[in-house]
C-alpha cells in the first residue's frame, strides 16, 4: 500500500512492469520489491527445500526470499534480488523455484514431508543401494538442486571489466561513508565512493533524524552535491564492493544497465578491480531476524526494512502492523507508522525493562511464539510469562539487533571478534591491511558514532597521504544501543534461521547431536549459510543456537569463514569480453587474406591462424587436398607461410658462447652464412625445443624456435641470461613479427626462386644469404622441413602479402602451389622430423636419438641432469617409426602382439600419424620401449577411444629419402 507524502520515489514518473505475467505500476526510484509491496503483492517466491510461500524479508542485497528471474531480450537472469532490482518501463520478472503457479506450487508437498527432510537428509538417504546412484538418485537430486533457471541460450548481453586507482576507497555512503568521503575529498586526495544502492545516503534515507541541525536527507543532498563537484572524487552508485584482495586490491560489481531497458553496447554489469592506498569500510550493519515458529510467512519482515519501505519508498507492507523488537532503535518504526496514520496492532519487546511510550499496546517482556496465514501473515501468537494470546496482524516487523557488515575484513583470513556488549561480532583491526571499518560496520550504531569514526578514519588516511584538511563533524543523535540478545524463541515447531536454504533451529540442534559440533561442519551438514545470501541473515543466530546446543560460548564457537564475493558476481562480468574470439588475441599472418581467398579453412596454431589445406574444385575431403599438396611438393614446388616460427635476433661478442650454453651442440664454431640445427634442453634434462640458428655475422645470430614454444624459449633465454651470465656481451630480441617468411620446397624450388629473383640461386644446404627482392632487402635460407630441396625466403612483414601472392603465381605456372598445415605435417612425418607432438616435455635427447648432439666439450643447460639414471638407456621409450596398412591414430598405445592389453604390458605410444601418399602406407611416429633395438618387429597398436587394433611394423623414423640426397641436391 502506498502512503501519500512519503518516500523518495519520483511520483511524476510512473513505470509499468510485469511480474508472473501480470502488469503492475510503480514509480521511478522503486525497487521491484517496493513496487510489488505497493501493489499489495506479498507472495513473491517459494523456499528452496520445503517450497514454503515467501515474501520480501529485507530491503537490501542480503534478501534471502524475494529472488526472482528477470527476463531480458537475450537472457534470463535467475536469483535476482527483488530488493535490489530497480523497476523500469518494460521490466519483466517472474518467480522461481516452483512447479506450477506460485500460489499452487506442486512441490509444496515437501513442506508436509519435512519430518523426513531434516539436516543431512541427502547424506543419509542417497547412500544405498549403490546401483541407484547414477540412474535414479543423480537425476532426482539434479532436478531438485539449483535455484532459478537460465534461458538455455548464449547471453548476448554486453559485460565490461575495468580497472580503477585511488588514494582512498570509501565503501558505503551512509553517514560514516559520506563523512569519510567528504573529509578525504576535501583534502584533495583521489577518492572513490562506492554505494551498493542506486541512491546515496544509506540508512539516513530510511531513518530520518537531523544532522548538524538540518534533516538528514538535506544533509545527504548537500554532501553529495559537494562531492559531485570535486574533480578528485568519483562516485560509483549501484556498485557493490565484493572482495578485498592482496595489496589494496578490491573487486566491485557495478550494475550499469540492469535498471534500464537493454541498449546495444550498454554493459549490463561492470566488474571493477579497484586499487586503493587506503580503504574505509562503511558498509553499515545487517539487522538480524529472530527464530520463532513459522517466522517465515509473507508479511514477516525486518523492522529496518519496514522502515525503509515507509520512508524511502512510501510503502506500508500491511494494514495492521506489529513490531517485535529488542532494541529502542527498531521501535522507532512503530512511532513513524503511527504518525503516518498506519494502524500498529502492538509492540512486543522481549526486554523486561523496556519502556512503553508509544500510542499503541506495548507488551514488555513478551515474545512471538507462532504465526498464522499460509499465503500471507494473518495473525501471531504472543507469550508473556505464562500467558499466551493472539494478535491479528498482516505485517510483523521484527528485529533481533544488528550485525556489523564486516565481511570484507575477513576476506584475507581475518577473524572477527565477539563483543558481549553488542552481542555481535565486530571487525578485528588490521585484518585487511589498509582497510579500516567505521560506523555501524565497526559496531558504532549511532549517527554520531558513524560520523565521528568515518571522519577519524579518513583523517588518518589523509595524514598518511601527506595531506592536510580540517572538517568539522556535525552534530547528530547518539542514542545508546541497548539490547537483550534474542536468537531463538523457545518452542517445538520449526523456527527458521536460514530462510534461503530452509534451515531451522531443529536442523542445527540435530547437527550438534550427530557430532557436527564445529561451526564449519554444522554449516556443511545443514547447508546453513550456503544459499545465495551466504548466511548474511542467519550466520550469527545459527552459531548462537549451535553454541547453546553444545554448551559453549559464542566467542568459543566462532564463525565460519567469510570469503569473497560479498554478493553474487556473474561470471559474465568477471570474464567480460572473454567469450569466443575474445578469449585470447588472434594472430594473423600476412598471407591470411590470400589463403582465405583460396578457400583454405584456417585452424588455430597457438594464437595463430594458419591454413589447413587449399581445396581445389572437385576435391571432396581434406585428405584429397592434402594428398595432392604432398605430391605437389615432392614432385614440383610448394609454398607455405612459416612466419609463425619464433625468431630471435642475438648479437654481441659472446653471442656464440651464449648459444653454446643454451643449445646442446656448438654454435660458436658455425661459419658466418651457415645454419645449424640446434637442440635445447630444460635444466632438468628434458627437451625444451629445437630449431635452426643461422650465423648472420661474426657477432650476430638468428635463432629459430618452434611456433608453439616461441614465448617459452624467450622466457628461458631471459632467465639463463639474467641469472647466469648478465655480464656477457650478448643482447637479444624477438624479431618474429618483423619478418614474413615463406617455405619454397620441392625439386623445382630452386628454379622458381632463380626466376623470381632474376639471378641463379646457388646456396649450399643449411646456409643463409642476404638477397634483394626488387628493392627490398631480405634473407634467403636453404633449410628444409619437408625433406625436399627447400628454401625459406624472408622479407620485412609489410611486404609479406605481396611476396606470398608473387610466389604462388610463379609456383602455379610450374605445377606447384600453396600447401597447408595438413600437408606440412605429412611431409615432416614422412621425413621423421619431430614437432612438439614428439618433444612434449617428457622426452630426453636420448629418447629421440639425439644424445650424440649433446656436446661433451662444453657445459650446457640440462646436460648434467640428462645423465641421471632413468633418463637414458633401454628402459626408456625411444622414438621409432611405425608403418601400417590400415588407419592408425595418435594417442594409441603399443603392445607386444599376443599379450594382454593393460597398463603393465604397455610398451609405448603414438605421437603423430598420417596417410603417406609418397610411401603408400599409414605412417606413425611414436615412442617404444628400447625401440631402436626393435626395428623390424611387429607391434600391436590399440586405441580404445577410436576402436583401433592394428598390427604395425617398427621402422626407422625416416621413411622418405633416408640418405638426404634430395635435401642436399
Amino acid at each position: 500500500m502506498r502512503i501519500d507524502g512519503k518516500g523518495l520515489i519520483d511520483r511524476t514518473k510512473p513505470v509499468r512492469f510485469r511480474f508472473d505475467g501480470k502488469d503492475y505500476a510503480g514509480y521511478k526510484g522503486d525497487t521491484l520489491a517496493s513496487a510489488l509491496l505497493a501493489n499489495d503483492v506479498r507472495l513473491v517466491g517459494r523456499s528452496f527445500k520445503y517450497h514454503r510461500p515467501r515474501g520480501v524479508l529485507t530491503s537490501g542485497s542480503e534478501e534471502p526470499n524475494a529472488l526472482v528471474e528477470v527476463v531480458g531480450p537475450s537472457n534470463q537472469t535467475p536469483n535476482v534480488r527483488a530488493t535490489m532490482q530497480e523497476v523500469f518501463e518494460g521490466l519483466v520478472a517472474q518467480s522461481q523455484n516452483r512447479l506450477g503457479s506460485l500460489r499452487f506450487d506442486l512441490l509444496a508437498v515437501n513442506d508436509y514431508l519435512s519430518p523426513f527432510l531434516s539436516a543431512g537428509f541427502y547424506y543419509k538417504t542417497f547412500m544405498w543401494p549403490r546401483a541407484f546412484w547414477e540412474g535414479l538418485y543423480e537425476p532426482l537430486i539434479r532436478r531438485a538442486a539449483g535455484l532459478g533457471s537460465l534461458s538455455g541460450k548464449h547471453d548476448e548481453g554486453t559485460y565490461e571489466k575495468a580497472f580503477a586507482f585511488c588514494d582512498v576507497l570509501v565503501i558505503g555512503s551512509g553517514p560514516a561513508g559520506l563523512m569519510a568521503a567528504l573529509t578525504a575529498g576535501r583534502s584533495g586526495a583521489d577518492v572513490i565512493l562506492c554505494e551498493e544502492s542506486h541512491t546515496l545516503g544509506g540508512r539516513l534515507l530510511s531513518d530520518g533524524g537531523t544532522i548538524g541541525g538540518v534533516p538528514a536527507g538535506e544533509w545527504v543532498a548537500q554532501v553529495v552535491a559537494e562531492l559531485q563537484a570535486l574533480p578528485n572524487v568519483r562516485i560509483m552508485p549501484r556498485t557493490t564492493v565484493t572482495g578485498a584482495y592482496d595489496h589494496g586490491t578490491y573487486g566491485a560489481l557495478e550494475r550499469v544497465g540492469l535498471h534500464k531497458p537493454a541498449r546495444p553496447n550498454l554493459p549490463r554489469e561492470c566488474f571493477w578491480r579497484i586499487v586503493a592506498k587506503h580503504a574505509v569500510l562503511a558498509s553499515g550493519a545487517l539487522e538480524r531476524p529472530v527464530a520463532f515458529e513459522n517466522n517465515d510467512r509473507p508479511g514477516i519482515m525486518m523492522a529496518s526494512a519496514v522502515r525503509t519501505y515507509l520512508n524511502r519508498y512510501g510503502v506500508v507492507p500491511g494494514k495492521r502492523v506489529t513490531v517485535f523488537a529488542n532494541t529502542d532503535q527498531a521501535r522507532a518504526v512503530a512511532r513513524e507508522l503511527l504518525s503516518a496514520g498506519v494502524q500498529v496492532a502492538a509492540i512486543i519487546d522481549p526486554r523486561p525493562d523496556a519502556f512503553s511510550v508509544e500510542d499503541c499496546p506495548v507488551h514488555v517482556g513478551a515474545e512471538v511464539i507462532d504465526t498464522r496465514g499460509r499465503m500471507g501473515l494473518r495473525g501471531i501468537t504472543v507469550r508473556k510469562g505464562s500467558e499466551t494470546f493472539e494478535i491479528e496482524t498482516d505485517c510483523l516487523a521484527m528485529s533481533g539487533g544488528w550485525n556489523p557488515t564486516l565481511h570484507l575484513t575477513c576476506h584475507m583470513n581475518g577473524r572477527p571478534r565477539w563483543s558481549e556488549e553488542l552481542a555481535a561480532f565486530v571487525p578485528m583491526e588490521g585484518a585487511v591491511p589498509g582497510l579500516v571499518a567505521v560506523g555501524a560496520a565497526n559496531g558504532s550504531f549511532s549517527t554520531h558514532g558513524a560520523l565521528t569514526t568515518g571522519h577519524a578514519a579518513a583523517m588518518r588516511a589523509v595524514e598518511a597521504l601527506g595531506r592536510k584538511v580540517s572538517v568539522a563533524v556535525p552534530e547528530a543523535e547518539d542514542m545508546p544501543y541497548r539490547l537483550k540478545a534474542l536468537w531463538a524463541v523457545e518452542g517445538k515447531g520449526r523456527a527458521w534461521l536460514d530462510f534461503a536454504n530452509d534451515v531451522t533451529t531443529k536442523d542445527v540442534k540435530l547437527a550438534a547431536q550427530e557430532g557436527f559440533r564445529s561451526v564449519e561442519h554444522m554449516k556443511r551438514y545443514t547447508t546453513q549459510g550456503m544459499a545465495p545470501d551466504q548466511g548474511k541473515n542467519s550466520n550469527v543466530a545459527a552459531l548462537a543456537v549451535l553454541a547453546d546446543a553444545t554448551g559453549r560460548g559464542i566467542a568459543e564457537t566462532g564463525v565460519t569463514t567469510f570469503r569473497p564475493p560479498y554478493t553474487p558476481v556473474s561470471i559474465a562480468a568477471m570474464g567480460a569480453g572473454g567469450r569466443a574470439e575474445g578469449f585470447a588475441p588472434q594472430r594473423f599472418l600476412t598471407s591470411d587474406q590470400a589463403s582465405r581467398d583460396r578457400g583454405a579453412p584456417m585452424i588455430e596454431a597457438g594464437l595463430w591462424y594458419r591454413p589447413s589445406y587449399f581445396p581445389k574444385p572437385g576435391e571432396r575431403t581434406w585428405r584429397e587436398a592434402c594428398d595432392r599438396e604432398v605430391t605437389m611438393v615432392r614432385q614440383a614446388v610448394g609454398i607455405a607461410d612459416v612466419s609463425t616460427l619464433g625468431k630471435i635476433d642475438i648479437q654481441g661478442k659472446d653471442a656464440g658462447r651464449f648459444l653454446d650454453f643454451v643449445y646442446t651442440n656448438t654454435f660458436s664454431s658455425l661459419p658466418v652464412g651457415r645454419v645449424r640445427y640446434g637442440l635445447m634442453l630444460r635444466e632438468d634434462g628434458l627437451v625444451l625445443d629445437d630449431g635452426t640458428s643461422a650465423r648472420l655475422g661474426q657477432d650476430h645470430y638468428l635463432m629459430t624456435t618452434t611456433t608453439a614454444a616461441a614465448g617459452l624459449v624467450m622466457r628461458h633465454l631471459d632467465f639463463v641470461h639474467q641469472a647466469f651470465c648478465s655480464d656477457w656481451q650478448v643482447r637479444f630480441i624477438s624479431v618474429t613479427e618483423s619478418w614474413a617468411q615463406f617455405a619454397v620446397a620441392g625439386p623445382k624450388a630452386r628454379a622458381l626462386l632463380s626466376g623470381y629473383l632474376g639471378q641463379p640461386v646457388d646456396l649450399p644446404f643449411m646456409s643463409v644469404a642476404p638477397i634483394k627482392v626488387g628493392g627490398v632487402e631480405g634473407r634467403l635460407f636453404r633449410i628444409s622441413f619437408s625433406g625436399e630441396e627447400g628454401y625459406e625466403i624472408a622479407v620485412p612483414t609489410r611486404y609479406g602479402e605481396a611476396l606470398f601472392r608473387d610466389l604462388l603465381a610463379r609456383a602455379e605456372t610450374m605445377g606447384g602451389g600453396p600447401y597447408g598445415m595438413e600437408a606440412l605435417n605429412v611431409l615432416r612425418i614422412e621425413k621423421g622430423f619431430i614437432t612438439h607432438a614428439e618433444i612434449h616435455g617428457r622426452v630426453t635427447a636420448h629418447d629421440i636419438g639425439m644424445e650424440k648432439m649433446v656436446s661433451v666439450k662444453k657445459d650446457c643447460i640440462g646436460k648434467a641432469a640428462a645423465t641421471r639414471p632413468g633418463l637414458w638407456g633401454p628402459e626408456r621409450e625411444q622414438l621409432v617409426g611405425l608403418k601400417a596398412q590400415g588407419p592408425i591414430s595418435a594417442g594409441a598405445h603399443l603392445f607386444v602382439p599376443g599379450t594382454e592389453v593393460h597398463r603393465e604390458t604397455d610398451q609405448g605410444y603414438v605421437t603423430s600419424v598420417c596417410w603417406s601418399p609418397t610411401v603408400g602406407a599409414w605412417l606413425g611416429l611414436g615412442f617404444l620401449k628400447d625401440g631402436r633395438a626393435r626395428l623390424g618387429e611387429k607391434v600391436r597398436l590399440v586405441d580404445h577411444l577410436r576402436g583401433l587394433d592394428v598390427i604395425c611394423e617398427v621402422c626407422l623414423p625416416v621413411f622418405h629419402d633416408p640418405e638426404g640426397e634430395k635435401l642436399r641436391a
Binding site: H247, G248, R273, F724, A864, R868
Partner: protein, 87 residues
C-alpha cells in the same frame, strides 16, 4: 596481488609469471655430483613465513625478479632484478 617491479613500478599480478624458489639461481658447477643437481632441481623448502622466489615480468620489461615475501601475511618485502642482484 600487486608486485613492485624495480624498473616498471607497482603492477598487477597478471603481468607476472611465477617460476619457483630462489634456489634456481644457485646452479651447481659443471661436474657437480648428481645429488647436488637433484637438490637444485627438485628439493624445496615450503616455509610459512618469509620466502624468496622468482617472478618474470612477462608483460612488462621481461626482467626476472627475486621477490622476498611472506607466505603467511602475503606481504611483499622487496623485489630486486635477478640480473643486478648482489651475490
Amino acid at each position: 596481488m600487486r608486485l613492485t617491479c624495480p624498473l616498471c613500478g607497482e603492477r598487477d599480478r597478471r603481468e607476472f609469471y611465477y617460476y619457483g624458489a630462489e634456489d634456481y639461481l644457485h646452479r651447481p658447477a659443471e661436474g657437480a655430483p648428481l645429488a647436488e643437481w637433484d637438490n637444485y632441481l627438485h628439493l624445496r623448502d615450503n616455509p610459512a613465513g618469509v620466502t624468496k622466489d622468482l617472478w618474470y615480468h612477462e608483460a612488462g620489461c621481461s626482467q626476472w625478479l627475486l621477490v622476498t615475501r611472506n607466505t603467511v601475511t602475503h606481504e611483499i618485502l622487496g623485489a630486486e632484478l635477478v640480473a643486478e642482484r648482489k651475490a
